[in-house]
Symmetry: C2
């Protein structure tokens, strides 16, 4: 019953970025041990050039504690205001000094407010959305989940934007023809279950927009999206059945439950980035292990290459 079909190695996320030059990344409010531990390991892998924004004295002190050579980091003092650090990071993107952002010891809301600000923010014509790339112990398979972190309950247009972003991301990280399952609670389209209608409409939309570049199908219940055995038993003969590279959830609650179940019950590693802004943004939580943060930086490096 466990997830065993191999597609890509779990270390594949790190391997993806191996040939990239180190990513210039602005870490917003870097004054936290957790962040410094991550930077130490990212530097050891030559993954990034860290621009550490925040309280400079604290950052220098922590860098010293973690034995990070001062010539390996660029520290930028932003004073006490977290929002100020976020604004400076956004400016650095505009000046092309950095190619990615990373959330440090700052509230997601405060960081994202600077990112989505009209005028000088980092919006593009794309929707802002989030993707998790999950890897599993003893398996080479990856599973991408979107959107489990940014969009609460997308409408049809938002849902299409989320799908477009994840297809773009999949192409960039090496899936030539990603297989995408749009999740609901079953394969039936029921007016009482809005997620099934959303999935059904988006299947037709994507067939036109992404013909030859991706296959998008739904609605799917999770089992028939990821398990060939389950799909065969139920006689579901869609292309994506049992073989999904990506699952699109209808709302943040189902996505949050999905990725956290994989992390807390299955020992999966969740690397994740925000898509659709001018540069990729690594949004990590304090509770994330360093391994997940490093993989997220690698993902951002691959995305901005």
């Amino acid at each position: 019953m466990l997830y065993t079909d191999a597609i890509v190695a779990p270390s594949q996320i790190l391997k993806m970025a191996k040939d990239n030059p180190p990513l210039p990344i602005a870490v917003v409010c870097a004054h936290h041990p957790n962040i410094m531990e991550t930077m130490k390991q990212a530097l050891a892998r030559n993954l990034c050039i860290p621009y550490l924004l925040g309280k400079a004295d604290k950052i220098h002190k922590l860098a010293n504690e973690y034995a990070i050579p001062s010539e390996k980091i660029i520290v930028i003092d932003c004073g006490e205001e977290d929002a100020h650090a976020a604004n400076i990071a956004v400016e650095m993107v505009h000046k092309q000094e950095v190619s990615a952002l990373m959330k440090g010891h700052i509230h997601t809301d405060v960081l994202m407010r600077a990112v989505v600000a009209s005028g000088n923010g980092l919006r593009t014509e794309r929707r802002i959305s989030h993707v998790f790339v999950m890897s599993f112990p003893n398996s080479d398979r990856l599973l991408m989940i979107t959107d489990a972190a940014v969009n609460i309950q997308p409408d049809e247009k938002g849902y299409q934007g989320i799908i477009s972003n994840v297809i773009d991301c999949a192409h960039k990280i090496g899936y030539a023809f990603p297989k995408i399952a749009l999740l609901s609670a079953s394969e039936d389209v029921l007016s009482a279950m809005p997620s099934s209608v959303l999935a059904d409409n988006a299947t037709r939309w994507a067939a036109q927009v992404y013909a030859g570049r991706a296959i998008v199908e739904g609605p799917f219940a999770l089992d028939n999206a990821v398990s060939l055995e389950a799909a065969k038993l139920k006689g579901i003969e869609r292309q994506v059945a049992g073989n999904a590279d990506i699952v699109v959830v209808p709302d943040i609650v189902s996505g949050n439950i999905l990725f956290k179940t994989l992390v807390y019950f299955c020992g999966a590693c969740a690397s994740g980035i925000v898509l659709g802004a001018k540069v990729p943004i690594v949004l990590t939580s304090r509770a994330d292990p360093v391994e997940a943060k490093i993989a997220s930086i690698a993902l951002a490096a691959k995305m901005s290459s």
Copy 2:
């Protein structure tokens, strides 16, 4: 990161019903090999007295193939119409000939239509809802999930009914003071996230209605409901934090994704029954392993004892 805190043995569901007399159960449309395999094993464990409703000739033939002695089963011919078998099963409950129902080779809708029929159905003053009791390999802990199968998107009243049913169920299967986490995507109450508001209101409601009999708290993100480590790291000091016996999902899609992730990625066993009708109803899917079906029958036996 794996789920290890032990509460009850996975075989505990079977043990629960060990001292119960065999459960008289009406299996609706029993003419399927999968059902007969389940009955064979249930009989070997002395779990039930099977009333097998459906196409009698097929049932007799299958019973013979599976070497089930004819004196161990009661076969009731219901002809070709699945709905007729469902109606006869409901009548048998009214006549107190059986103490539980089980879905055989029949559409859930057809069975449930007979159950909820006004007048002669099996409704009580309670809401009809579903509970899964999940058990895990190499762990003694159980986790109950409700409602991942019957209520699509409950309103406040429906949500309260679901909580009441699962508390009643938990009491009956041996949890004197069940700890219940109401799930959303975080611990924050946000008007943009209806599940968090639902959870917040239900926490106050349950504090009055179930004081001393259960503890109900929410909103919770999944990690802080089931992982003490995560809850501690985030400084969440609620009673249920990290220790939930039961998680209540806001809708069928998140519940479906949750239980299927546990089954297909973590090798969990999902036993489940419908609550709130005159008798417990075992709703299984063809794809369920026999082990899950047996555990569901044991659960029904415990519930009707």
